[in-house]
């Protein structure tokens, strides 16, 4: 089904779906880029509250584990992209708050963290990204339809989405056909192939929070 014209009866509430983003430009992926993370980011923009946003994600969950997969894609090319951010104290910090030198003047460079910093990101070129999930397809569609860019460095043009597609699917967003994890799943909640490696990964949002990491089965990064 193409977004904007949901045929009645093809997508029902709380069912297994496949979400596909057709891409116009390469994207930058750091972490697993789970579908619930993307939806929570959209909800945060609407609600302005992290906890409310996470509580409103329209995806099934079991004890905090969202039934939504990590990003699945087949890259046709992979590269590194570096960005240099120039951090200048004079732009944003009140000089009165900065320690002065013995002549009563500002230190030219008062903090080594306020300088140029270079960040390098992995860039992937792929025609599309797919996610599997169990949830409210109508609400997921509502949240995704305005999303024009995904991944990191969106303002620089990476991860431009040309179309979203939501279809019925068989997978629940947790475990794939071969028993592999489709997203980070804590070891005591995983029912798939336990011969796979265990990794330390964030398994619930906020994914940036180090306290949300645990021993998990997870797709390779």
């Amino acid at each position: 089904m193409k977004l904007g014209s949901p045929p009645e009866g093809t997508i029902t509430m709380r069912k297994s779906i496949r979400v596909t983003a057709a891409l116009k430009s390469p994207f930058i992926k750091v972490g697993h880029m789970t579908l619930d993370g993307i939806l929570a980011a959209q909800l945060f923009d609407e609600l302005g509250d992290v906890d409310k946003a996470h509580a409103s994600v329209p995806v099934n969950q079991t004890n905090g584990l969202f039934h939504a997969s990590a990003a699945i894609f087949e890259p046709i090319d992979k590269a590194k992209q570096a960005f240099i951010a120039g951090l200048r104290e004079t732009h944003s910090i009140n000089p009165d708050q900065i320690k002065k030198n013995k002549h009563g003047q500002l230190h030219k460079k008062f903090d080594s963290s306020l300088t140029n910093v270079m960040n390098s990101y992995p860039v992937y070129a792929a025609p599309e990204i797919t996610w599997y999930a169990e949830g409210d397809a109508v609400e997921i569609e509502r949240l995704l339809s305005p999303v024009q860019f995904i991944g990191k460095r969106r303002a620089a043009g990476f991860g431009e989405v040309s179309a979203w597609l939501i279809e019925d699917a068989e997978l629940d967003g947790l475990i794939g056909y071969a028993g592999e994890p489709l997203r980070p799943i804590p070891i005591d909640m995983f029912t798939g192939d336990k011969s796979l490696p265990i990794v330390d990964a964030a398994w619930r949002p906020a994914y940036w929070n180090v306290l949300n990491r645990a021993a998990c089965y997870a797709p390779p990064l």
């Binding site: 265990i198 990794v199 940036w208 645990a214």
Partner: protein, 154 residues
């Protein structure tokens, strides 16, 4: 147990008072100055390595804390020793540098197929059971070369 708890319980609590804010305590461990074995002013751990396991921590940089074990090995010798004698006990492998390691870069290694080496620059992840790829990470390449030659890389 997550990486922050493993760090604080088996390493950090010997170096900084525990305040109840686990992330702040871990940050203080990694970025603050600590009493040195040789005395003198406090210094931040700015070189060497550490391996932190539930049964205790071992590191190269000699601090005053007696609860931590100290070893003269290079980082690659220490990591190779751990990985070659892997018994499944979770461990944090850290490389120290002038810049402190951000707490976001702390990950536990649970499996030889997904070894994680944490440093200020980032986190290296590799499969120790296979040969490194051409664009593989430095630690994996050095450890593999070291193992293949039976020698020691500094």
């Amino acid at each position: 147990m997550n990486a922050i708890e493993l760090l604080n319980q088996n390493f950090g609590r010997y170096l900084v008072p525990q305040t109840g804010d686990a992330v702040a305590d871990a940050q203080a461990v990694l970025s603050g100055g600590h009493d040195m074995a040789k005395g003198g002013t406090k210094q931040r751990v700015a070189s060497g390595w550490a391996i932190i396991k539930p049964e205790g921590a071992t590191m190269q940089f000699k601090l005053a804390a007696r609860e931590i074990k100290y070893a003269e090995k290079t980082r690659y010798e220490a990591f190779a020793d751990l990985l070659d004698n892997w018994n499944g006990t979770p461990a944090i492998l850290m490389e120290f540098d002038k810049k402190p390691i951000p707490v976001g870069n702390l990950f536990i290694t649970y499996d030889l197929r997904a070894v994680r080496v944490c440093s200020a620059k980032g986190v290296e992840t590799f499969d120790y059971t296979i040969e490194p790829e051409k664009d593989g990470c430095k630690t994996h390449k050095v450890l593999f070369k070291q193992r293949k030659s039976g020698g020691v890389s500094k």
